[in-house]
Symmetry: C2
Subunit: 139 residues, 2 copies
DNA sequence: CTGTGTGCAAACACTTTGCAGGTGT
DNA sequence: ACACCTGCAAAGTGTTTGCACACAG
C-alpha cells in the first residue's frame, strides 16, 4: 500500500466532511458520483457541502473527473504524481465501466496508446471509456 | 458524397421537426447538443419535441451519443453501417473536442486501437474523447 | 380513420449561488 | 481572531412526464 494522501498534502483544512469524503474515495477503487458519496456518508453532510468539497478537491488536484456514458460525472482519486504545480495534469489512463454493476474503475495499468491525429490537430488530454463486463460480474 | 439517410430508412414518420433536426445534423460534421439544435432551428420547435426527437433517433440508430468532457451529452449522425438490426452498434471511433472552439468532431478515419484488458474484463463498447486544439483553431 | 408526433404545463433531477453562523488553525 | 467551511434556502439549468390536440400514412 502506498501512503495515502492527507488533506494537508493539498493545503486543505481538515474538516469532518473533507476527511470523510476523502476516506470514502480511499476505501474503494472505482469512481464515485456526488450521489454515491452522499449515500455512503448517509446524508450526514449537506448536498451542497459535498458539491463544494468535490469541486475543491478537483481544483487542488486530489480528484479528477471521470466521464460517464450517460452524461453524468464521476470522480476518482488521482494516484501517481498528477499533483498541483503545472496544470498538465495528464490522465491518459483508461476507465472501464461495467454495464452490469455500473462501477467505473480506473485501469491504472492500461494506458491509451498514442494515436495519429489528422494534420493540424493537437492533443492536450484524452479520455478513454470502455464499457463492458468487469471481472466480478463476468464470473 | 454518400447518399444521405432519410427518415424512411429508419421507419420514422416524416414530420417537419424530424426533417429539420436531421437536416441540421447533415449540415455539419461535428456533434451537437440538444441546445445547439434548438438554437440552429431558432426555437421553432418545442424544447420537449427536440428531446423526444433526439431520443427517437437514438433508439432507431440514426444518432449516437458523444461524450462531452463536462458531463454533457452531444449527438452525432451514425455514418457507416451501424444501423438497427442487432444492437452491436459499435462506435469505436474517436471523438475530438477542441478546447478553443468547443466543437466535437468524429474522427471517422481514426479507430481505437485494441487494448489488452485485465483478465476477466470483456469489452462491449468504447469511447475515446481526445481534447486539444483542432486544425481550424490551431492555424 | 388510427396511431403517432407535437406543444404546453408541470414535475423532476442535478448543480450553483447568497448569506448567516460555526469551526479550524 | 480571522479566514474559511458549512448548512439552509432559493435560484438556475437540463431533462422527463401527462395530457389534449394535430397531423402523417
Amino acid at each position: 500500500m502506498n501512503s495515502k494522501y492527507s488533506l494537508k498534502d493539498f493545503e486543505l483544512r481538515s474538516t469532518p466532511c473533507r476527511t470523510d469524503v476523502l476516506a470514502t474515495f480511499q476505501k474503494v477503487d472505482y469512481a464515485l458520483s456526488q450521489g454515491d458519496i452522499e449515500q455512503r456518508l448517509s446524508d450526514q453532510y449537506d448536498r451542497v457541502t459535498v458539491y463544494r468539497t468535490l469541486k475543491t478537491f478537483l481544483t487542488q488536484g486530489l480528484l479528477h473527473k471521470v466521464l460517464d456514458d450517460n452524461g453524468g460525472v464521476k470522480y476518482a482519486l488521482c494516484k501517481e504524481l498528477c499533483h498541483q504545480g503545472d496544470h498538465t495534469h495528464q490522465h491518459d489512463h483508461v476507465h472501464f465501466k461495467c454495464n452490469l454493476c455500473g462501477q467505473t474503475t480506473c485501469l491504472e495499468t492500461v494506458h491509451i496508446p498514442s494515436i495519429q491525429l489528422p494534420a493540424g490537430f493537437t492533443k492536450q488530454e484524452s479520455n478513454l471509456l470502455i464499457q463492458g463486463v468487469c471481472s466480478v460480474c463476468g464470473a
